[in-house]
Structure formats: C-alpha cells, structure tokens
C-alpha cells in the first residue's frame, strides 16, 4: 500500500508546491536507483493553481475537465483513474494526474453539496494505491474541502512552515483540522511526518528563533530547514524539479545532491522521509 503524504499548510507561499515537487522527484530518483518495487511515485496536485504539474509534466499537464483530477472528485461514479495517469517528463517513474484550473475551481465550489465529499480523493486513489510506493499530494492554501480530501487520503502530513509570525499563525488551525480528521473521519493512522521550516533566510534573526521554537515544541518532528535559494526559483521557471535543474556530475551511486544547496537540503529531506516512513 502506498505511503500518501499530504504537503499541507493553509498559509500561502510557504513552499508547499516546491516541497511537494522536489520531494516527489527526489523519491523517484532514489527508488529508481534502489530498484525498489513498486518504485513509482505519484504527484497529485489538489491545488487549483496547478503549479506543481508544471514541474513534472509541462506541456502535458492540462486536460479537459472530464479527464482531470476534478472529475475524480465530483463525478459519480468517477472516471477510471488508471487512464488519467501520465508519466512525468523528467523522471520516468514519477507520474501525475493532469489538471484543469477552471474545473478544479468548480469542483471546489461543488464539493460542499456532495455526499461523502471528504473521502472522494481517497476513493479515487484506492484502485491504484498498491502500484505506487509514495503518493505526494500538494494542497491548496486554504482549509477547504480540497485540503480535507488530501488529509483524508493521506497517511502522513508534511507541514512546510515559513519561520515568521504569519507563518506560525495558521499552524494551530491546521493541527486542529488534522485532529478533527483523525477523530471524526476515523483516520487514527494519520501522522504528522514533520514540520519543515522553509524559505529560511539566514540573515533574519526571527528565522532562527522560530526554528528553535519548533525544535523545542516538536523535537522529534522538526526537520532540517530549507533555505531560500535562487536555484529553487529558477527550477520552477525552467519547469523542473531542483534535482533535474541542478543535477550532480554523476548519479551512478544514486546521488541526489549536487553543489547546489537546495539539492542538498531536499536530498536530506528525501532520505529522512524514506527512513521515517520505513521505520513505521
């Protein structure tokens, strides 16, 4: 059964999409090198903006509404997810479901009126869950039905946190939402994989204070920070994950990181995620 990781935080601009894309790509490279079976990764972009898909399938990332993720969420019975899956353009074992911005916006508006609305993504993924090692879900920057669907579908939640006052302010609401999902939607097995400080700028004093605060309050769950770097921004501009944008000289030994700091930090995250999820 796949390990499903929702990358969630209702604050926008904290690096959810960057983290989701690079985590998915890093896991794909790592599992491919290890010859893992199943060694496939699926990226699900539940954010209507669909920016995550740009980095994995640019040029083939959009589809008609009835062929996109939105149809899986709102139609009864849903279309076959199997025929929607597309192979990523940079990593052969990274797959995605194409999106449609207007359809996702409409789906978000329609979901409140549908029965079993919180479980639709989980049900849509169920037929293929056995064929993937990891499913990474990028979530929208709001605590809405799309986010709840991602939490219900997930086995783990990875929470990118921008180390600032505003970045911390929504954390409590998210934690409460996770607790409610656990209790009311019978998801006892939903774990918080970790809090990931993102967009860290070393020069800002506040950043270190907040990272220290996270380490103090969530010692086992605070992950190593991801710093703000131009490589991450430019990788997005090039419609790539950072490991493709800044590859090492050789991947023969399964190496993820290169001289780019962003690749080193996300490589650490990938290895940590694998270690933590395999230990359970």
């Amino acid at each position: 059964m796949a390990i499903v990781i929702a990358v969630a935080n209702q604050k926008g601009g904290v690096g959810k999409t960057t983290t989701a894309v690079n985590l998915a790509a890093g896991l794909a490279i790592k599992l491919r090198h290890e010859g893992h079976s199943p060694g496939k990764i699926l990226l699900v972009d539940a954010d209507p903006q669909g920016h995550g898909l740009l980095a994995v399938g640019f040029g083939r990332h959009l589809a008609a509404p009835e062929e996109s993720l939105a149809a899986l969420l709102v139609e009864t019975p849903p279309p076959s997810i199997q025929r929607m899956l597309r192979q990523g353009i940079h990593q052969s074992n990274l797959y995605y479901i194409p999106g449609n911005t207007q359809a996702m916006v409409a789906a978000r508006a329609r979901l409140p009126s549908l029965l079993a609305r919180e479980q639709r993504l989980a049900r849509a993924l169920a037929p293929i869950a056995d064929t993937y090692a990891y499913i990474i879900i990028d979530t929208p920057p709001t605590l809405d039905d799309l986010m709840i669907n991602a939490l219900v579908a997930a086995t783990h939640v990875l929470i990118p946190v921008e180390p600032s006052y505003l970045g911390l302010s929504g954390l409590k609401d998210l934690q409460q939402a996770i607790d409610q999902v656990r209790v009311h939607l019978a998801k006892d097995d939903l774990h918080i994989l970790g809090y990931l400080p993102t967009r860290c700028v070393r020069q800002r004093v506040e950043v270190q204070e907040i990272v220290d605060y996270l380490r103090e309050n969530y010692p086992a769950r605070t992950l190593r920070p991801i710093h703000e770097t131009t490589d991450l921004t430019y990788a997005h501009s090039a419609h790539m994950d950072v490991f493709t944008y800044r590859p090492p000289r050789s991947r023969r030994d399964g190496r993820l990181e290169s001289s780019s700091r962003a690749t080193q930090e996300y490589a650490w995250l990938v290895n940590e995620v694998v270690q933590r999820t395999r230990m359970e």
Partner: protein, 376 residues
C-alpha cells in the same frame, strides 16, 4: 363516516409519492460494491488502451497472429493488418472477417450499441491496461475497420468498467452474440469449471489450451454441472461430451476451431485410434465429412468406397458431391474461381455428361432459390 386511510411512511413507495424513486438494491461485498454495482459508468477508450483476455474461451485471432500479439511483438493494429492479409488467402478467415468488418461498419453508421466490459490491470511495464471481459469482437471489429479504412486517428470505443469480471458473464455474452464452435464451447465449459474450483489461469502458460485441458483431469465438485447448465444452456451429458473434445492436441483443436467442426464430427474422430485423429480432422476439413462419414473411417480408414456409396441414399450421395464442389470452388479467391469453373465446365463436356447435367443443375438451383425466398 368512511374510514380514512392511514399512511405509514416506512411502507410508502414511489407510486404513493407520485415520484419515481430508484430502487436501492442490497448488495454484498462492501461499500465499494454498494456504491458502484448497478451504477454504470461508460467511458471511451482507444483500442491501444485495451487488451483482450488471453484465456477467453472463444478464440478469435488466428493462431499465427495470436502468439505474436499476446507476446507484445505486435500491437492490435498490426495484428488486424496481418489478419486482413491472412483472410485474403484463407476462405475460413475471409468469412469470419467479413462479419467483423460489417460490425465495424455498423459502429460508424449506428454507433456502438453495447459497451465493452472489463477491468483495469497493471502490466509489467507499470502502466494500466483495460483487460476486456466481454466485447472482444467489438474490439477487433474496430481495429480491423480502422486498418482497412486507413484511419489516422484511433477509434474510441465505449467501455464499462466492472469491479469484478467473471467467466460466467463472458460465456453468457458469447452465447448471446454468436455461439462459439464446438472447440470454443469445450473451452467455455472448461473455463467455467476451473473458475468454479478456483483454478486461475497462469500467465506463464504459453498454450492456453493447456489451461483448459486441466479441467479434464479434475473431478467436478458436487452440484457443479447443475450450476453450469443454465449458463451453457446444455444438458450435463452434452457438456461432458463437449469437454472431451479437449483431448485433441492443440494443432488439431486450432484446426477444428477454425473450420467450426461440429461436436459430433469431433466425437467420431475421438473414437478413432489416436494415430488417426490428425488424418480424420484433415479429411473432415478438406472434404467436409459428416459424422457418419468419419464414423465409417473407423471401419475403413480409406475414403468412402463405391460399396459404401451403394449403401447410402441417392440424395446423400448427390448432396455430398455438391458440397464438395461448393467447398472446392469457394476455397480459392474470386478470380481463380472463374478459372476453376471454366475447368470444370470443360471437363464435364469432355466426359460427355454436360447435356444431362444442365437440367439437373437448373432443377436444383430453382429449388434452392424457392427455399431461400421462403426463408426470407
């Protein structure tokens, strides 16, 4: 005062309420079954997204092409192309293909009436393919038509995803469309029996007939035949007779299936010594032998002699001769047929019975015409 009707909300039906209320059927099998059984979802897929069931009892693809297709050496369109070429050389395939091409043509004219059913399966290449449960004829009809018409874009076929494909549904669909040959029916019975006792096909098996032959070695569980009777619409005895056809070797089964040899002919073949099966099947195909004629082979392994002819009725002798003539003439392409007919006419005249033959041919053709008109 007249007694007023008391309503009970628990017993009210849609008719009482003046609305049509969909009937909720109790389902087994968990929540997914409850939600999706009885609720159809029709989607459209291209043939390249589908794969027929290799262990479908009714085999459609010619053997030469079948292995290459299921091994992945050729795709469905290359298989259809090869099939069209084969049909040009072999009358048995020509007739079968004509039906499928007509069906493909009717999709264009009237649309596809019944969806193909099946389920998604992961493949070794880690993609999903839609494995066909019922509707393989529709699949090939579309592929053949696409190749023959030189379509640039793949046709799209209506499909219905079923949660649990069953062998019973496959067999019932076969019965409703076109009843398979005796060999096909033998495979159906074997497939149902093996499904019943939980013996699933092994993807490693190269020869699908080996899977069906497993049924010969197995003891039918109690009540199984009674269960199969309504599905196969045959009596238990008949099903057992059909099943025994699988004793033939694979090449003979393929030949018998291709030429649609009836079960009673195959039964007579099986009654011969095993060494004579091949010759008997080949004779049955080549000369159109009936079961009685094959039975005669048991007594004499030669072709029917004049002494045998004497024991048969005049109608039987004449009919057998006409059938052999028809098959011999139809076994060649249309152009060559003209040469064959010229040759026969020349020979008839040379042998000196042309004048006697003409009124007889006229008589029989008039009688056949009347009977054909009566059938219409």
């Amino acid at each position: 005062m007249a007694k007023r009707k008391r309503y009970n909300p628990l017993e009210e039906t849609g008719a009482d309420l003046g609305v049509v209320v969909p009937e909720v059927r109790a389902q087994e099998g968990g929540l997914d079954a409850t939600l999706f059984d009885g609720v159809e979802r029709i989607e459209r897929l291209a043939p390249s997204q589908m794969m027929p069931d290799r262990f479908q009892p009714r085999r459609l693809l010619p053997e030469k092409i079948r292995r290459r297709f299921f091994n992945g050496e050729i795709d469905c369109y290359a298989a259809a192309q090869a099939w069209l070429e084969l049909a040009g050389e072999d009358r048995a395939w020509e007739a079968r293909l004509a039906e499928l091409l007509d069906m493909g043509g009717s999709f264009k004219a009237q649309g596809q009436i019944k969806p193909i059913t099946g389920a998604w399966r992961p493949t070794e290449e880690e993609i999903f393919i839609f494995q066909i449960e019922t509707g393989e004829r529709r699949f090939w009809a579309a592929c053949l038509r696409a190749v023959r018409d030189g379509l640039q874009k793949e046709p799209e076929l209506r499909v219905e995803v079923v949660s649990a494909p069953t062998r019973q549904r496959q067999v019932l669909e076969n019965r409703h469309t076109k009843s398979p040959s005796a060999v096909g029916q033998a495979c159906e019975i074997a497939a149902l029996m093996l499904d019943e006792i939980g013996v699933k096909p092994d993807a490693e098996i190269k020869d699908e007939y080996e899977y069906f032959r497993l049924a010969l070695a197995r003891r039918a569980p109690h009540g199984m035949w009674a269960k199969l009777e309504p599905v196969m619409q045959h009596s238990t005895r008949r099903m057992q007779q059909l099943l025994s056809v699988l004793q033939l070797s694979t090449p003979l089964l393929e030949l018998a299936d291709r030429y649609q040899l009836p079960e009673r002919v195959l039964r007579e073949v099986l009654a011969l010594p095993k060494a004579g099966w091949k010759a008997a099947i080949q004779s049955a195909v080549r000369e159109g032998l009936t079961s009685e004629e094959v039975g005669q082979l048991r007594k004499k392994e030669d072709k029917p002699s004049r002494a045998d002819d004497a024991r048969r009725s005049p109608e039987r002798i004449a009919f057998t001769g006409l059938r052999r003539f028809t098959r011999a003439a139809m076994n060649v392409g249309a152009q060559e047929r003209q040469f064959v007919l010229d040759g026969v006419a020349d020979e008839v005249l040379v042998q000196g019975f042309g004048e006697a033959l003409l009124p007889l041919l006229k008589g029989i053709s008039e009688r056949i015409e009347v009977r054909l008109r009566g059938r219409l």
